[in-house]
Subunit: 310 residues, 2 copies
């Protein structure tokens, strides 16, 4: 049983109540607590030493990354973050200066997005440092962008460039909060999520939730410079296209809109966010699974994204 | 620098925003998101294998404890819990059946309090299992019971019996949610918190936040049967009174009310909660610190409660 299978089994029988609009399985939980115009977003995300960062990672970047990952999930719902709790579990022989620097990185990013850090906990984790962030946000009623709304014929878009994040970007990426809110405000976004486990694997979550498939045009997939350099530098590295399809921690936005909206959206985007590339990488189809189209034709793509347990 | 000193330093410069009513430093953060009649409560709490539970602890009890600790913090604010997120970090060689049983224990308690489990995360922690719970709750405006409201002359109350929780109670205690809400509804509770690190240490948090001191009557402190048995069984064990003052994980309510309310409160409590002892254990005084009164007179008590780092 891998991580996804275990989670699927567990989430089948979770307790629920009348406040739950969307429970487990999307980028954030969506709750209705009676605010007239808004729903609440609730999310938690952890980074672990040795997996998401290393012993020698600059501590400010650890703090930045821990919060940025969670903010990216609020972005995926087109929401606005409000308040965070920070749990740091660390060995007893910790260095207080290190923890302060982790908070420096985290607090700087929090201030940029008007997020209050309202507490948390410092506890012991005997061998490795672990940081878990809990985030509360909100979204206007009717504007939360779920994974389940993709429709056959939709155009599939992705922001930025993909792959090779491990070369450095995974530590200092910026969550696409303003971009996501702008998208939800100006267009009917059918489905959206943030890319954390790799384009192909994450796209499968949208496809499964929406009961559809996707055809991606390989030449349209934006490949990062880092992915290309890594591929050239090492013969054992992934080919660039495979890196863009399967490398984790891109934290870009993946979304679908009706095909009629594709061109107006692209035009408006270029005016609003001239610095951030946006690419139409394919379309939603009825045939389930991820399919790649290149000069040789169409073939199914079966390499999964990164799974913590496999 | 111990845990409390580090936290104090970090919490001095946390980012804040207009939603924050109470930030770091109380049992829960209190947020105003514009609900007309209520404020939100936001809390996170983690349990770690080897510290809060052991490798051979029944998994249902691990799940129960992880959620119960967090619910106890909502109780400390006289609030009602709504939704939880569950982060489980565990070694790659995990047993799926174990995780399911942890969820069984957690879900059973969640259902008892109408708490929805709306997601979370399963990630890798190489050596030990760690479970972090994130909880969202609410409280009527004006009814949140903070640590900062104790006044000179107040009577100090504690529910249940203290000490010796490690003998078993720490795994199956029940959070005092109904009791706390009843207290806040019927009496003017000046200050309240839940006992997690030991009566003496936790009382100091109320005293510090309220800038007052306390005099406890040693003969009034309710000592658990477990604390008495442990003391009798082992000559190296703490004397029972010391156990009641310093053992962690009691998860009872500690609160203060004006002295004029003490007797009416005690009478009403006995009718409402005949099974759960409530004891007046002393009074709030101007002289800072915790002082013990016994047949020999009054002396300061300086043994701190349990600190994770020391």
């Amino acid at each position: 049983m891998n991580e996804f299978e275990l989670i699927e089994k567990l989430t089948r029988s979770l307790p629920t109540n009348k406040s739950v609009v969307v429970g487990a399985g999307d980028d954030c939980a969506v709750l209705d607590l009676g605010l007239p115009d808004r729903l609440l977003l609730f999310k938690t995300d952890a980074v672990v030493e040795g997996i998401h960062f290393q012993k020698d990672t600059p501590p400010e970047k650890i703090g930045h990354k821990a919060l940025a990952r969670c903010l990216s999930d609020i972005a995926a719902m087109a929401g606005t973050p409000t308040a965070a709790l920070v749990t740091i579990a660390l060995p007893k022989t910790f260095d207080p200066a290190l923890i302060e620097k982790i908070y420096d990185g985290l607090n700087t990013l929090a201030r940029q997005h008007d997020v209050a850090v309202v507490g948390g906990e410092t506890t012991t984790n005997p061998e490795h440092m672990l940081i878990s962030i809990s985030l509360l946000g909100h979204v206007p009623r009717g504007k939360a962008t779920l994974r389940s709304g993709a429709e056959v014929g939709d155009a599939i878009f992705v922001t930025g460039e993909l792959g090779g994040s491990l070369a450095g970007r995974h530590l200092d990426f910026l969550p696409r909060l303003a971009e996501a809110r702008w998208l939800a405000q100006h267009f009917s976004i059918h489905a959206m999520m943030d890319l954390s486990d790799g384009l192909a694997g994450d796209l499968r979550h949208i496809l499964k939730a929406s009961r559809v498939g996707a055809e991606l045009l390989t030449t349209a997939i934006p490949i990062s410079r880092a992915a290309k350099l890594m591929s050239r530098a090492e013969s054992s590295a992934k080919p660039p296209l495979l890196a863009a399809l399967t490398d984790g921690e891109d934290f870009e936005l993946l979304f679908t809109v009706a095909s009629k909206d594709a061109v107006p959206l692209m035009d408006a985007w270029k005016k609003e966010f001239p610095e951030l590339p946006l690419k139409c990488i394919g379309k939603i189809i009825a045939h389930e699974g991820v399919h790649l189209r290149d000069q040789r034709g169409v073939r199914p793509f079966n390499v999964h994204g990164y799974a913590h347990f496999s």
